[in-house]
Symmetry: C2
Subunit: 203 residues, 2 copies
Amino acid sequence: MSDESLQLIPARQGVAVELNSGDVVRVLNTHGSQVIDAWAFNAALPAEFMSMEHTRGVLYRLSPRVGDSLYSNRRRPILTLVEDTSPGGHDTLIAACDAKRYRLLGCDHHHDNCAENLARALAGLGVPVPHTPAPLNLFMNIPVAADGTLSSQPPLSKPGDHVALRAEMACIVVFSACPQDMVPINGVGCVPTEAHYRVLRAG
Amino acid sequence: MSDESLQLIPARQGVAVELNSGDVVRVLNTHGSQVIDAWAFNAALPAEFMSMEHTRGVLYRLSPRVGDSLYSNRRRPILTLVEDTSPGGHDTLIAACDAKRYRLLGCDHHHDNCAENLARALAGLGVPVPHTPAPLNLFMNIPVAADGTLSSQPPLSKPGDHVALRAEMACIVVFSACPQDMVPINGVGCVPTEAHYRVLRAG
C-alpha cells in the first residue's frame, strides 16, 4: 500500500473520495466527537450504492464490526470495515440531516446539512443522485433499548480514533462532517469540528 | 367512512392501492403468519416516499406503534398506524427480498420477490421507481438482541390479525405478500399465503 497525504474534511462540510478496488480510506475522528456520515456509490453505475437495509439483512447486526462488509442495494460488498479503534456501534438507523430537519428543530435560516453536503460533493464529480441513501453514520451513538426505543447520545470515541474502509469495487465514497449543532450528537458542547482522512492505495 | 369490499393480496404477489388523504386501508393477515412488505409514495410526486430511516429518526423507535405516523423522505407524515391487533414489532430494518436474495440462498431459477412485486404494481399505474425504498415489513418478526444482533423469526401474529394505515396525503400504497419460502419468515412451514385488505374511504 502507498499512503497518500492526510486530507481535511472541513467542519460542517463534505468531501468525495474516488477509490479503486482494494484501496483503503482511513477516517480520523481528529477531535474525538465528530459524527461522519458516509456513503458509497459504484463508480461505474451510481444507481448501485451502499445500503444500510441490505447490509443489515446480510450481517444480521445493527452495526458493522471489523471484518464485516457493507453491502450495496444489489447485495454486493462495496466496502469492508478493516480497522476500528473506536468503541464501534456506528449508526445505521438514522437518515442524514437535511434542511427540513433543522427547520423542524426551530432553525429559521439555512443550516448546513449532510444531505446537501452529499449532493454537492457528488455534483463536483458530475454525478447526480436522485435521492439520499441512508448513510453509515460513523461514530454516531444511537443506543437501542430493549423495547426498541432509540436515544441520541454523544459519541463514545476519543480524539484520534479512526476507522478504515477497504473498497471492494471502484467506488466514490462521500464523507460529511455532520453540522448538527442543535442537539448533542457531535458531543455535549454541540460544536461540529473538522476531521481528516488518508487514502492508502493498493498495489 | 364508507367501507369498500374486501380485496385479495394473492400469495407471492403485490397490489397497488390509491388512497386520498384521510382514507384508511386495513390489512388482514388472513392466515396469520404472512409478512406483508408495504411502501407508500406521494401520488403527485413519487420521488417522495415512505422512508424507514426518516421514520426512525422522528419516532426514535425501531418500529411504529398505534398513533405513530410513518414519515416520507421529505420528513412529512405519509401514513399513520391507526389500528394494530397483532403483537406489533413490525420490521423496519431489512430490505425487500429480490431475485439476487434467492440466488444467494441457492435458488437456481427465477423466484417471486417483493422488489419485483413493487415494480410491477407501480408499473401498472404508470409510475416508475428508480430504486426500491426500504419497506415497512408488516408482521415481520426480527428481534434485536442487546448486542445489536438480529434474528429472523416466524411472525407472532394470528389468523385475522390486522393493521390499519391512514393516508396523510394522497398516496399510492403497495403491499406485497412476501414469497419467501426458503427461510421461515412467513411461518415455520415456509408456505407463503394470500392476505386481504379493505379500504375505508373518508368523507
